[in-house]
């Protein structure tokens, strides 16, 4: 791992399983979270298994941060790749207690992880009280959490997660996601993350890979991929736009902070931000309403002056998807055709876009 | 050490004890078993010095193969008897075996056990072979045959005289089968090649032909022609 950051992750593989053919050629960033997205059976798990070496294809080429894991000549066996793999089913060792499961990988791999770090993971995942239990006496979500903790405890150089949070409740998810973000930021390890949840992907991912029937139909930064209009896959029902903004001012009284996007201002909830920091913002199309006047007399705080670029039909015939542009940033709004008519909105027109809510990512 | 036919068990154990009274420094180990098995093993170099066979044929064959250090020596002639756990066998002859009440008649396997071969000959000579053949049960060796009869599973059987003289069978009488009905059960011993220089082996063989030893043999129903 001598060339950290020098190069990212390369996965070139071509693998057949009966009727299914995985054929991908990916260049992924060497740090940050890469979300792998696609319908059930499209090859997400197969891709992770190829990458990890659990499934060996004869003609694969895999490098991670300059280190060759597989090419025509060599094949680093799985146990030497030092990766953390949270698989779709928890796969806990049934003959070991939870504690022993957690220590299994730690003993073999972790060079640095201190015991405190493990304790922190255990606490984060709320499994302190389960340590002495056998896996078969755990609930589905508890098993999943132990499995995540087990992978994190190994202090891996790459983390692969196959729908790790699908069995967990919202509150628990919202505790784990920020931890993963933090880990990824602090340790700068790359994370490959399979998920069906738009929320998770939007919140975690920097990079997005979309698979379909074993081939990659899109790979790029999340902002780029999500605004690709002709992509059949969207993160869930909701189209959205994503852009970066700089923190300009903190209002500690109202617990808000002001962001600058190009020439315009936005107010969002403050989360202990520092002035000058660059943050990523996601705005769902359904959270944007349009009007011809700036409406100061409303609880909506954010008003962007933007130009309508195109108007597209939406999935429901009552609605349209309006593509706007402000300061070269894209913005999507979902409004009814009736409103378009009543407000006389057409391409080229300048309108006020009111943003009720936005999410801060990363 | 010695390998010996199973029917010698009681007799030879006593002989060894008696011999050792006179020669306390010498140790003699005896392994009992089927003579045929011992023959096969001796051919493959089994580490026995003396071979007490229940048959004279085996020592002879070993001699022909050049594995022995002496000629086979006849040490005893065995006898067969009728014995039953259910009734007084001493009143019976081989002819009575055709009676239906003897649903099973135990003899040793005539194919490979010497006592079985002699039993077959005797039955044939007595002219009852045809009528008993279907009621025979065969023991692997003479001991097993004795167990068939002793446990009552076979109402009667043809056993070795040496066995029925032992304590386990002494409670019931037996009928000696006339020796002219079958070939003699000539039991021979031989000194194996590996004991050529073994003084103890030779001393023990010599002891067996002393007067004291002969009485012990006779006590267990083994006699030599002319005794």
């Amino acid at each position: 791992m001598h060339t950290q950051d020098a190069s990212g992750i390369q996965i070139h593989t071509n693998h057949s399983l009966d009727n299914f053919h995985l054929n991908v050629d990916l260049e992924l960033p060497g740090s940050g979270v890469t979300a792998i997205f696609g319908p059930s059976g499209c090859g997400k798990t197969t891709l992770l298994r190829q990458f990890s070496g659990l499934q060996r294809s004869t003609n694969a080429y895999i490098t991670v941060q300059g280190v060759v894991w597989q090419d025509s000549k060599q094949f680093v066996p799985v146990h030497k790749r030092h990766l953390g793999f949270v698989s779709q089913s928890a796969n806990l060792f049934p003959h070991l207690t939870v504690q022993q499961n957690l220590l299994y990988g730690k003993k073999r791999l972790a060079s640095q992880t201190s015991m405190e770090q493990l304790d922190a993971v255990v606490e984060l995942l709320g499994i302190e009280s389960l340590l002495e239990r056998k896996p078969k006496n755990l609930s589905g979500g508890e098993q999943q959490r132990v499995s995540i903790a087990r992978a994190l405890a190994t202090d891996p150089t790459v983390l692969l997660m196959d729908e790790p949070l699908s069995a967990l409740d919202f509150a628990r998810k919202n505790e784990i996601l920020p931890y993963l973000q933090k880990m990824q930021r602090e340790l700068r390890i790359p994370i490959l993350y399979v998920s069906h949840s738009p929320e998770e992907v939007a919140q975690l991912a920097n990079h997005l890979v979309v698979l379909e029937k074993g081939t990659c139909i899109a790979s790029g930064s999340i902002a780029d991929v999500l605004t690709q209009v002709n992509l059949p896959v969207s993160l869930g029902e909701e189209p959205c736009s994503i852009f970066d903004a700089t923190i300009e001012e903190l209002d500690n009284k109202d617990h808000l902070c002001r962001l600058k996007v190009g020439e315009q201002d936005l107010w969002v909830r403050n989360h202990q931000f520092q002035v000058g920091k660059i943050v990523r913002i996601r705005v769902l199309a359904r959270d944007v309403s349009l009007s011809n006047h700036k409406m100061d007399d409303s609880s909506i705080l954010n008003h962007l002056y933007a130009r309508v670029s195109t108007i597209a039909n939406d999935t429901h015939p009552a609605q349209a998807l309006v593509h706007l542009e402000f300061d070269k940033k894209p913005l999507l709004a979902r409004v009814t055709h009736r409103s378009l008519r009543q407000l006389d909105i057409h391409p080229g027109k300048l309108v006020w876009a009111h943003v009720k809510t936005m999410a801060l990512l990363g | 050490s010695i390998t010996a036919a199973a029917d010698l068990k009681f007799c030879l154990d006593l002989l060894v004890t008696e011999y050792q009274k006179g020669h306390p420094a010498d140790t003699i180990q005896v392994a009992y078993g089927s003579s045929g098995k011992a023959f096969t093993q001796l051919q493959q170099g089994a580490p026995f010095d003396l071979y007490f066979s229940a048959d004279i044929e085996y020592p002879r064959k070993l001699g022909e193969a050049g594995l022995t250090a002496s000629e086979p020596k006849l040490y005893a002639v065995g006898r067969i008897v009728l014995w039953s756990d259910k009734e007084d066998a001493s009143k019976l002859t081989l002819k009575d075996l055709s009676a239906e009440r003897f649903t099973k008649i135990a003899i040793a396997n005539p194919e490979h056990a010497p006592y079985g071969k002699r039993a077959e000959e005797a039955l044939k000579s007595a002219g009852v072979w045809k009528s008993v053949e279907s009621r025979l049960v065969l023991g692997e060796n003479i001991s097993q045959t004795a167990q068939f009869v002793q446990s009552g599973n076979a109402p009667i059987g043809i056993l070795a005289l040496s066995l029925v003289k032992s304590p386990a069978f002494a409670s019931k009488p037996y009928a000696l089968i006339p020796s002219d009905l079958h070939q003699p059960l000539e039991q021979a011993l031989v000194i194996m090649k590996r004991a050529k220089e073994n003084k103890l082996a030779k001393d023990f063989v010599n002891y067996l032909f002393t007067k004291q030893a002969r009485t012990i043999f006779a006590q267990y129903g083994f006699t030599l022609p002319g005794e």
């Binding site: 990890s52 796969n91 049934p94 992978a151 | 096969t40 093993q41 493959q44 170099g45």
Partner: protein
Amino acid sequence: MLHADDWAAIFLTAKLSILATLILFSLGTPLAWWLAHTHSRFKNLIAAIVGVPLVLPPSVIGFYLLMAMGPKGPVGIVTEFLGLGTLPFTFPGLVVASVIYSLPFMVQPLQAGFESSNHSMLDAAATLGASPLDRFFTVALPMALPSFVVAGVMTFTHTVGEFGVVLMIGGNIPGISRVVSVQIYDHVEAFQYARAHHLSLFLLLFSFCVLFLMQRIRNRGIA
């Protein structure tokens, strides 16, 4: 109650059985693993060869082994050439014969255990940094524990109870090949029923303990 020579036979039996079981664990485990996982076309052949000692009567196996290991047999010629002498009527010879005879008792249950084992656990262990050998010992083996216990106990008890082969190969020599089973057999043949009963009783109590212990291990493994 038990005579000195009975005790000698008991110790000899214990030595033989433990040794044979240990050897069979180390030989049988990789063999069973291979049989459970290979796609080689020799698989069925090897599996059938391993099963052969099950189908032949012990004393017949003993007879063929005696022939093969005797001075004129192929194995005997090799061992004599190597300066080891011939194996029959020696303790090592007995061990070799027991190992051959009990091989299927070790391999068959292990193979069944490995065949029904779950590969995803092994995958998980690999991603956690366990080398193939490591994951075998720390995952595959404990997960196939019931099969291991069965294999071990069957091999061990069967070696204790085996006697046709021992009688043929061992020659009933005290301290070398007069194991308990042979001793009991001798007692029975000599109508020394009391001694036979005592030794049998001892074996029974002993096997009870072993089997009890085995059940405990199993129950623990499952719980």
